[in-house]
Subunit: 339 residues, 2 copies
């Protein structure tokens, strides 16, 4: 009995033996090398079938120095990401883009409480071939560390400050915000306020920028209140806005959640939407179709973003050293009832 210990899966060696070839030849067949005779190939393929052979990834990784795994790191600090479908959409884009390749998706949720050190260690070249970074806040050191360690990585969303050399894929946040403001102005609104997102995130900052510059183009005044993308901050912000400028006739909100909060606050204050005040959101989340009134909002191609991130990352992995370009995806306005 030279059978191996308690039913371990078959090894390449066993496949080779059964096919009557050497280990090298078997390996060549498995990896699709062309330098193999028809006969040998068939024999090996047959043996693989018979034995139900599956290559051992660990062994392969050990020698090839890559793992065929890419990590998607979600810095979920606000658990906003989970409240919104945004996250799920990115995952979907990422995973369908990955489905074409042989790479697997490792999902790493970066809970602020769990020790970051371990994540950090895990994100080395030994464990993943590349990293997708989502929703990076302020001056998170992670992107820099990855860049320094030479781990291929792509940012989802433009970083707050362009300190790192990592490429990013982002929506046209400023453009989308401008679109919203233009629509409001075209509709005759003259006192257009905004509720911003967190300014330590690119999305927050750029949506404000788009708002500001669009209004500047019309020589209209700005009215800004800061929030954090959450429904509650929308409510609070709207209240303040109403106090500061009772005559405002439009609010551009940096997220649908905030718009929902604003809608509630406006209703409580007896303002009709859109007659008295127009409201426009950002994200085109599923919920935006069911608010009262339904929400005019800026649509962003979230799923595409995930896919493009994968595309960019794949290029970085396969052609290290090649220059990579940032990607900015177009947004468009979805006009519904609120403005």
């Amino acid at each position: 009995m030279n059978r191996r210990s308690p039913n371990r899966p078959p090894t390449l060696e066993e496949v080779a033996l059964r096919a009557g070839v050497g280990r090298g030849t078997a390996s060549r067949v498995i990896n699709g090398s062309l330098q193999v005779s028809e006969a040998a190939r068939n024999a090996v393929l047959q043996a693989v079938q018979d034995l139900g052979y599956v290559p051992n990834r660990a062994a392969r990784s050990l020698v090839t120095q890559h793992t065929d795994v890419v990590a998607l790191v979600v810095s979920e600090s606000e658990d906003r990401l989970f409240g919104e479908p945004f996250f799920a959409q990115v995952v979907r884009g990422v995973s369908s883009a990955l489905a074409g390749t042989s790479r697997q998706l490792l999902l790493a949720v970066d809970h602020r409480d769990s020790d970051r050190q371990r994540l950090n260690d895990y994100l080395s070249k030994q464990h993943v071939d590349g990293v997708l970074l989502l929703s990076i806040h302020g001056d998170d050191p992670l992107p820099g560390q990855l860049a320094a360690r030479g781990v291929p990585a792509v940012l989802g969303g433009r970083p707050h400050s362009a300190v790192t050399s990592l490429p990013f894929v982002d929506m046209d946040n400023a453009g989308g915000a401008a679109l919203a403001v233009e629509h409001l102005v075209a509709g005759g609104r003259r006192c257009v306020a905004t509720l911003t997102g967190p300014l330590d995130m690119g999305a927050g900052r750029l949506r404000l920028e788009g708002y500001t510059s669009a209004l500047a183009g019309h020589a209209l005044p700005t009215l800004v209140e800061h929030g954090d993308f959450s429904e509650n901050s929308g409510r609070v912000g709207a209240r303040r806005l109403l106090e500061r400028a009772p005559d405002l006739d439009a609010i551009f909100c940096a997220s649908d959640q905030m718009a929902i909060g604003a809608l509630a606050e406006l209703a409580a204050a007896g303002r009709r939407v859109p007659e008295d005040v127009a409201v426009v959101g950002f994200d085109d989340s599923p919920t935006s179709r069911h608010t009262t009134p339904s929400l005019t909002t800026v649509h962003q191609p979230v799923e595409d973003m995930g896919a493009r991130m994968v595309q960019t990352l794949s290029r970085m992995i396969e052609h290290p050293g090649d220059p990579v370009e940032d990607v900015v995806l177009p947004t468009h306005l979805v006009v519904r009832r609120s403005g």
Copy 2:
């Protein structure tokens, strides 16, 4: 220059060398063995620090025969899972439960188009320590294959037929449905219809069961129309219901999405909700708070489900052979305006 080839990360051997100990001792320290002298331990720890050593998982897996990775397989056939926050909530529950352990989450989206064979191969003992299965339809062979191969696995949601020996974690779907019906009946409704989910899923079947048995308890007639959890199927189903029984005064929908569709159809038909017809959904999705009128619905602890799945799986991995029990999590009714 006995430096190794182009800057590979440091190995255990190098750590040992620098610490002035043997490879074995270094390994013992890294893995927290107690059989090490204080001096040796400190020396190794110091060397690890200095070198920035991170153990190579592939090498370790190769010998230990486990990977510290668990896969979450999502059979996303209907892309319903991504439309709803359900999926994101499960992921959150799973990943926070995993945060306590040293295991990583591998997310495998089982697109029906991408070849299933590869997924199947990947889900062997060589690659993952265990598998979490979500949203298994009808008689998917996957659970059986995993069970046969001896890969620890846990089902999220009771399987359609109890053919496999895999344990599951589920919500109390029948109980929740009964709760909804009881509420409707207590509110004076006498013609309570239901829009079911897909009956090849446990959730679909059991919600119908709860509905049926609750009505039976009151000797009230049933009125059933089948759907697939989607908004559109809710719309279509509601229309048919209205044709079949114009005098119906309540609809219990197997999902919030379906309830939203029903709400739209009811409005189109000129029925007032809840005056003429009461509507109750299932899921307590975020959207349910913003429908018109806001939706009474059955809340299910999705996040908890993810966590319990991890718990169960961990037990199976750590104590193979031990008996494992199915888990059924309680649901409760959230009463809003629609019924």
